[in-house]
């Protein structure tokens, strides 16, 4: 597209703009659809970015961590814990191994049993937190040695529940991105319908313009400019409202989990700013395609 054409679309031509009469219904429809879709895109973006952050956090935080659970009678627990720590210190690829204190274990159990749990009176297994080095350790080898020396010890490298969670978070991210694509497609379809309605309503105007020597590009441009600007304005309003709504959501907290983390962080706030120009681009392409097709049909 030439610079002159871009300039004409952005700056416009007052005389050319007057040639096509304003069409209230399609104007309002385009503004509303663009605004509503931009609002939804902001939420889909927020969902997608939050899911991405969650997936990254889960995969990074837990990927190199494992837990060793020692089940033994209470009187043998300290000795077996010591044996386990010795084995772990001797295992290549284990960066650190630390037995959780009773307080730390009580804190882990507090969501289920409350904060005042008398942990020393309960037959709670001892947990050892293992941090993997780089390169990592031989899981199968460590399991074999533990089963020989500490039959009651269970090595849990979190794979069983971490992978489905990361998969779920990644699916949620993909769902968010797919929703944005769907919204873009729906916007294009709605604007195409509105443009077609405007073109059909102005068939007589188009015929007169053709009779006095107007090129198709001139006629199409009058509609393209109108719909592109409406989409830009509608999207901008939708994005502002969407961002305000995201701002009003509760702030991220551990208690709230994922739901309170739904929003933008840092440079993530810049992403919604791309929505109005993209909405305008969608309208530009949709109206241009509709106008060219309709003009061929009309004359």
């Amino acid at each position: 597209m030439s610079q002159g054409r871009i300039r004409k679309i952005l700056v416009g031509d007052a005389q050319a703009d007057r040639v096509v009469p304003p069409s209230g219904f399609t104007a309002q429809l385009t503004l509303f659809v663009s605004g509503a879709m931009a609002f939804l895109v902001v939420f889909a973006l927020a969902l997608s970015l939050a899911s991405g952050r969650l997936a990254d956090r889960w995969s990074q935080e837990l990927a190199r961590a494992a837990t060793l659970r020692i089940n033994a009678p209470q009187d043998q627990l300290p000795a077996q814990t010591q044996v386990a720590l010795t084995i772990l210190q001797q295992t290549p690829g284990v960066s650190s191994a630390k037995a959780l204190t009773p307080d730390e274990q009580a804190q882990l159990l507090s969501p289920w049993f409350g904060p005042d749990i008398p942990i020393d009176t309960l037959p709670v297994p001892q947990l050892i937190e293992i941090i993997e080095g780089n390169p990592g350790y031989d899981r199968a080898g460590l399991r074999l040695r533990l089963s020989a020396e500490l039959p009651g010890a269970v090595l849990d490298d979190h794979t069983r529940w971490r992978e489905p969670l990361v998969d779920a978070a990644n699916s949620l991210r993909r769902l968010g991105l797919f929703s944005i694509l769907l919204i873009g497609g729906a916007t294009a379809a709605m604007i195409t319908l509105a443009a077609n309605a405007a073109l059909a309503a102005n068939a007589q105007v188009i015929e007169v313009l053709r009779l006095v020597g107007a090129l198709d590009s001139y006629i199409a441009q009058a509609f393209i400019r109108r719909f592109t600007l409406r989409a830009l304005i509608g999207s901008a309003v939708g994005v502002v409202l969407g961002m305000i709504s995201i701002l009003l959501l509760p702030e991220a907290s551990d208690e709230g989990g994922f739901l309170t983390g739904l929003g933008f962080q840092g440079w993530g706030w810049a992403w919604p700013l791309l929505v109005p120009p993209l909405g305008a681009l969608v309208a530009f392409v949709a109206t241009g395609t509709a106008a060219r097709r309709k003009l061929r049909e009309l004359s």
Partner: protein, 225 residues
């Protein structure tokens, strides 16, 4: 300038024109007459590319009109000014804007053409009505405005389809004088009209040839006109 070479036109329900040949030489003045439904408007539309013949060939400015693409057809229409029977105005624009429409669509700045535009509006006697909307004008005023719009780009050919169809005799004479004046400026004129009195009056002012469509064929009218 415009040449019809053995053309035929079939509108789907039957043959309207058969083996029609004619030539509009530069600076010539032609009337096209014939009964209603004989195909006068169709013949005019064939001349400016609004319709294409089903047989034969129309050439305008040495170009085969049927072979023109959409943009070339639009450019052809800037060289052929047309006064339509129903004027074809945009009712949301003023008469001034309607007359300026060919300038607007061809990308010319109205500011630089304002002098010519006012002169033209004055020539057709619509200076007082320039800001009126088309529905507010009388039939004669509308025809004069349509004529002004047809010549604003200074086309080589002016085609008028029944320009006096809805106006009284005095207004017909006024429109005729404008067309004769254009012809004296060197424009090629083709006017479709069933008004034989007007054609006879015109022949006193200008050397005009009269073509008659009858029974699908085009003939040169005889001394009766």
């Amino acid at each position: 300038m415009i040449e019809l070479d053995n053309i035929g036109y079939n509108y789907g329900g039957g043959e309207l024109l058969t083996n029609v040949s004619a030539q509009l030489a530069p600076g010539s003045f032609h009337f096209l007459t014939g009964p209603s439904g004989a195909g006068k408007t169709t013949l005019l539309k064939l001349c400016y590319g609004a319709l294409h013949p089903t047989s034969g060939r129309v050439r305008a400015f040495n170009m085969d009109v049927k072979g023109l693409d959409r943009d070339q057809t639009a450019m052809l229409r800037r060289r052929v000014g047309v006064v339509h029977q129903d004027c074809q105005f945009l009712n949301h624009l003023s008469i001034y804007e309607n007359i300026a429409l060919p300038l607007t669509v061809s990308g010319k700045a109205l500011d630089s053409e304002e002098g010519n535009l006012n002169e033209l509006i004055n020539w057709v006697g619509l200076s007082e009505r320039a800001e009126a909307k088309p529905p507010e004008l009388s039939g004669g005023e509308r025809q004069r405005a349509a004529l002004a719009r047809a010549v604003i780009l200074s086309p080589d050919v002016v085609i008028a389809d029944e320009p006096t169809g809805n106006v009284d005799w005095d207004m017909s004479q006024r429109l005729l004088r404008l067309l004769v004046e254009l012809n004296r400026m060197g424009k090629t004129i083709l006017v479709a009209s069933h008004d034989l009195a007007l054609i006879r009056a015109a022949k006193n002012q200008v050397q005009a040839r009269v073509l008659r469509i009858s029974d699908r064929r085009l003939t040169l009218a005889g001394a009766d006109l």
